[in-house]
């Protein structure tokens, strides 16, 4: 099947998301679950992730303001965050979560604060990339 230019662009973008390490194999698993009965499953679950993780981010931010830091609570939040990230294949986000948890284990406040900025950064970057990707995919689908 001949791909139109938009479809090629979508495929290219998808490929680079994997190549650059933003997404891992779990994202492919999600794509495999998408079918005619549920054609927007991937986008839906990603959207759900961003809604849900916004809540977690807020909780972590609040917890990071308390003194002394409650590392157990922070670790617990991050465990949830890491789990969700892992479930959608958000590789870089997941890795930053792991870093954060290491700082929790080490009881390093500075480490936690610093890594949390990285978690948020990767989280935002991925969201933007995926928004662009889904939008492009929709356009490519319509252009058929």
């Amino acid at each position: 099947m001949e791909r139109n230019p938009l479809q090629r662009q979508v495929a290219y973008m998808r490929r680079s998301l994997f190549d650059q390490g933003y997404l891992d194999e779990q994202f492919v698993q999600l794509e495999d679950l998408q079918d005619d009965a549920n054609p927007n499953f991937v986008e839906e679950i990603v959207t759900l992730f961003y809604t849900d993780s916004a809540r977690l981010i807020h909780n972590i931010e609040q917890a990071l303001e308390s003194r002394p830091l409650d590392f157990i609570r922070l670790d617990d939040y991050m465990h949830q965050f890491k789990g969700s990230s892992s479930s959608i294949g958000a590789k870089k986000v997941k890795n930053e979560c792991t870093q954060f948890r290491e700082h929790c284990s080490a009881r390093s406040a500075e480490g936690c604060v610093r890594t949390f900025q990285q978690v948020k950064q990767e989280h935002t970057i991925l969201r933007r990339k995926l928004e662009t990707y889904f939008q492009l995919a929709r356009q490519a689908g319509l252009a058929n």
Binding site: L33, Q80, S87
Partner: protein, 232 residues
């Protein structure tokens, strides 16, 4: 050839009647699990906690221990307890009267409040004890895995759970349902009630598979085995 046809047919029938109770505090994981199970042709009910699961099973106020029996054929698991020891009470639980059927429980390990392990123990100590329970966790901790298996879990899956994991569970579960004497399996088993009767008697013998389960779960607990290359 005929044998294959029958077993595929039987498999399809069992899948259509297979009801899974999925327990996970994560919204994303519930959605994912629901999708995985639906795609695999199972009916699924998702709850967000161990307490909600117990409530669903009618176990919340502790009124149902192993001593409660039921001869209701509409409940695939509970009726099997009548084949085991202590049951003397003739009164079925409300859920059994309503024909609630659960063929498999899949539960996350790490949950606030009641853990997956706690839920496992509660289920195994109830009239639902013959329902296979599978525990899931994002963390690969051998001692945790062993503890769950020894606590009666049928299997232990690493998250994120994939379609291939469910496929691996399938023959396992089908076997536990079809351990009834051969003549009942091979005869035409079109209607639901027949299948449920098979379920009720055979579930109690599923325990004998525990040795096999342990090896299987430990193998699948190896992250390397489960990680396949990227497609494309």
């Amino acid at each position: 050839m005929k044998q294959d046809n029958e077993s595929t047919q039987q498999q399809k029938q069992l899948e259509q009647h297979f009801h899974v109770l999925a327990v996970d505090d994560s919204l994303i994981d519930r959605k994912l699990l629901e999708k995985l199970l639906t795609v695999s042709s199972y009916h699924v009910t998702c709850v967000e906690s161990g307490d909600k699961a117990l409530e669903y099973l009618g176990l919340l106020d502790g009124r149902d221990n192993d001593t409660t029996s039921s001869s209701s054929s509409s409940s695939s698991s509970s009726s099997s307890s009548s084949s085991s020891s202590s049951s003397s009470s003739a009164k079925p639980s409300q859920q059994e009267m309503q024909g609630l059927k659960v063929n498999l429980i899949m539960t996350d390990y790490c949950m606030p409040g009641m853990s997956g392990y706690d839920l496992l123990k509660r289920v195994k100590g109830s009239s639902w004890k013959d329902v296979p329970v599978v525990v899931m966790s994002s963390e690969n901790v051998p001692s945790r895995i062993n503890m769950c298996l020894e606590g009666g879990a049928e299997d232990f899956l690493l998250k994120p759970v994939q379609l291939s994991d469910l496929e691996k569970l399938q023959p396992h579960l089908l076997k536990s349902l079809s351990q009834y004497p051969c003549e009942n399996i091979n005869s035409s088993n079109e209607d639901d009630e027949n299948i449920n009767k098979n379920n009720s008697t055979s579930c109690s013998s599923s325990k004998s598979n525990n040795g096999v389960c342990k090896r299987k779960a430990l193998v699948s607990a190896d992250p390397l085995e489960r990680r396949s290359k990227l497609k494309d």
